[in-house]
């Protein structure tokens, strides 16, 4: 009888402990439940293929998250086409309360952003990373993070004016 690979055991323990949090991030990055599952599996597959090296470097979560963002922004392609739900996704059949409306509107607006803009927003406003940390996660410059954040918020204000309060004040034009 074959024993369980200690590497696999450690990997499984990590996934069980952190998959819920990672799934939430993946969901925000994709805007779709199934796409999020695929994205998370792809990221975890990549990590599993070099698990030994990953755990040798310490806590695996930062690496997993970096892979997740990288896959979401530019490295990941779905193998099977699926319907992109975005604004029309189901919300469990619950009565449309005000809270539900806000979620639907936000989801629809996020779906219209580019993957990089979504990633910047998730990093800055969901994971509360600084601009420097977000730039490190995405492998880009801090100024790119700043500009992407500004553009993404402006786009959200356009797409979801009813949530404008949540997106902060419109920046003032500074006269030269």
């Amino acid at each position: 009888m074959r024993g369980v690979d200690p590497g696999q055991e450690g990997f499984s323990a990590f996934v069980h402990a952190r998959s819920a949090a990672l799934a939430r991030t993946a969901f925000l990055l994709t805007g779709d439940r199934h796409l999020a599952e695929d994205l998370l599996q792809e990221a975890l597959t990549r990590v599993a293929s070099r698990w030994g090296k990953v755990v040798a470097g310490g806590d695996p979560e930062p690496y997993v998250r970096r892979v997740l963002y990288t896959c979401a922004v530019d490295g990941w392609r779905r193998r099977r086409p699926r319907e992109v739900l975005g604004a029309t996704r189901e919300v469990g059949g619950a009565a449309f309360s005000e809270a539900s409306d806000r979620r639907l509107v936000l989801a629809a607006a996020l779906a219209r952003l580019t993957p990089r803009q979504r990633a910047v927003l998730v990093l800055r406003f969901y994971e509360d990373r600084t601009e420097v940390q977000a730039a490190a996660e995405l492998g880009c410059s801090v100024s790119t993070v700043k500009s992407q954040t500004r553009v993404a918020l402006a786009r959200l204000r356009e797409l979801a004016p009813e949530l404008a309060d949540a997106f902060g004040p419109v920046p003032l034009e500074v006269a030269p």
């Binding site: 799934a23 975890l44 070099r50 919300v91 509360d128």
Partner: protein, 431 residues
């Protein structure tokens, strides 16, 4: 602002779900990718080995290139165990270093042959300038440093020093066509003989022997007269000829004489070779031993029924013995240093056979049809090498191992890719 947006995002993320069995699926898929990656790596490594083998000069074993300038007297130190396949054969560079042999070979049976210079590690260079029109043979000095050849039908005769890169041209020497305007006409299919000190080369020309001094550039014609065919050198200043014996008629002679011309005193001495010498002499028949004491008459039976090798004492003319176990194949020269090697046919292949061991001196790839191997005496005397682990193995895989390796790497790569795709599809379907 950010707190509000954070709350909105947090609320939205609550819709996320985790697929059951995620850890196991991801682990299996990751393991499959790691395996495929290792396979690809192995394939790339194998391909790299193949490419490196291709780029290496010899049969795939790292034999350092023979340095071109190890001193003024540096000569070839040995001969190749095998002359293998080369995907690309370069033209002979200016300073390739001394070579072991000159090989005449064609790529297909019956095709126009080319001449190649072969290094001691078996690496070949093409001799581009040798005139093929009238079957002119190039020549190689005993130490493998100098190659002599007729550049075009109208000359010149060029002596190329492979160590220094220097070329000495002798004008007024052309091929043996009657229309040749050159003053001296070199016989086609005739060997040239280098003096032991590598200073002079004796060419067989219409009317005699032409001595070229490569150090001074002087040219001297020794009229043939009664002397016969230039055969070799007994010492730096003593040239040996073979000539039919007295009473010779058209193709019918009663014996063979060895005539020695002393180039200093201009005296001539001759001895009659006792025993059953061939009745008609080929220009390729005679070979003088390196010590100048013995003479071998090598016959392939073209002109009469005599085949094999007869040995004579060059001073007395006395017969020393006869060897007939090999099927001599001419036109091509024999070489006699520490051992006597003769051109011979083994099976369907032409090669050079060591009469001491009766084994081929070197193995030549079946993708070439060798017609003649002209050896530097020092190469024959030196050790065999350059074959690496393959040695003189003549099995098919020993000649094609590079192609086999690259093919195997390609098959491995394609197989690994297919396995990877199949596993990915399976996992995707399962998911």
């Amino acid at each position: 602002m950010s707190a509000d947006l954070h709350d909105l995002l947090d609320d939205l993320a609550s819709d996320a779900t985790v697929a059951p069995g995620l850890a196991d699926r991801a682990w299996q898929a990751g393991s499959a990718r790691a395996g495929a990656r290792r396979l690809r790596l192995a394939g790339v490594a194998a391909a790299l080995v193949g490419v490196l083998a291709l780029l290496l000069p010899s049969a795939g074993v790292a034999v350092p290139a023979l340095g071109p300038a190890r001193g003024e007297t540096a000569g070839v130190q040995g001969h190749p165990e095998r002359i293998g396949r080369q995907w690309w054969v370069r033209e002979l560079p200016d300073r390739p270093g001394p070579v072991a042999a000159l090989l005449q070979a064609s790529r297909r049976d019956g095709e126009q042959p080319d001449w190649y210079a072969v290094r001691a590690d078996g690496h070949r260079f093409h001799l581009p300038e040798v005139s093929h029109q009238t079957d002119q043979y190039p020549s190689l000095s005993r130490d493998g440093r100098r190659v002599g050849y007729l550049q075009t039908e109208e000359g010149p005769y060029v002596v190329h020093d492979l160590v220094t890169g220097e070329r000495t041209s002798f004008e007024g020497i052309g091929d043996n066509r009657e229309t040749t305007r050159a003053r001296f006409r070199v016989q086609g299919q005739a060997p040239a003989h280098w003096s032991p000190d590598g200073r002079r080369v004796a060419l067989t020309v219409i009317g005699g022997a032409l001595l070229l001094d490569v150090t001074t550039g002087e040219v001297e014609l020794l009229p043939r007269g009664e002397r016969g065919l230039v055969t070799g050198w007994r010492a730096e200043d003593r040239l040996v000829w073979l000539t039919p014996g007295p009473g010779s008629g058209a193709g019918a002679v009663s014996g063979v004489r060895a005539v020695t011309t002393d180039l200093r005193s201009r005296t001539v001495a001759d001895v009659v070779l006792a025993g059953a010498a061939p009745s008609v002499l080929s220009q390729w028949a005679g070979v003088v031993s390196d010590d100048g004491r013995r003479l071998a008459v090598v016959s392939d039976g073209t002109f009469d029924s005599v085949t094999g090798v007869q040995l004579f004492d060059l001073t007395s003319g006395q017969a020393l013995g006869a060897l007939t176990p090999v099927e001599v194949w001419q036109p091509c020269a024999s070489t006699w240093g520490d051992r006597l090697v003769v051109p011979a046919r083994v099976g369907q292949r032409l090669t050079t056979v060591d009469l001491g061991t009766l084994e081929p001196l070197t193995a030549v790839t079946p993708s070439l049809f060798p017609l003649c191997l002209l050896w530097a005496t020092d190469a024959v005397d030196g050790p065999a090498g350059g074959g690496g682990l393959l040695g003189s193995t003549d099995a098919w895989w020993a000649w094609w191992w590079k192609e086999v390796l690259i093919g195997a790497a390609a098959v491995l790569g394609v197989g690994a890719e297919r396995v990877r795709r199949a596993r990915a599809t399976k996992l995707s379907a399962r998911g």
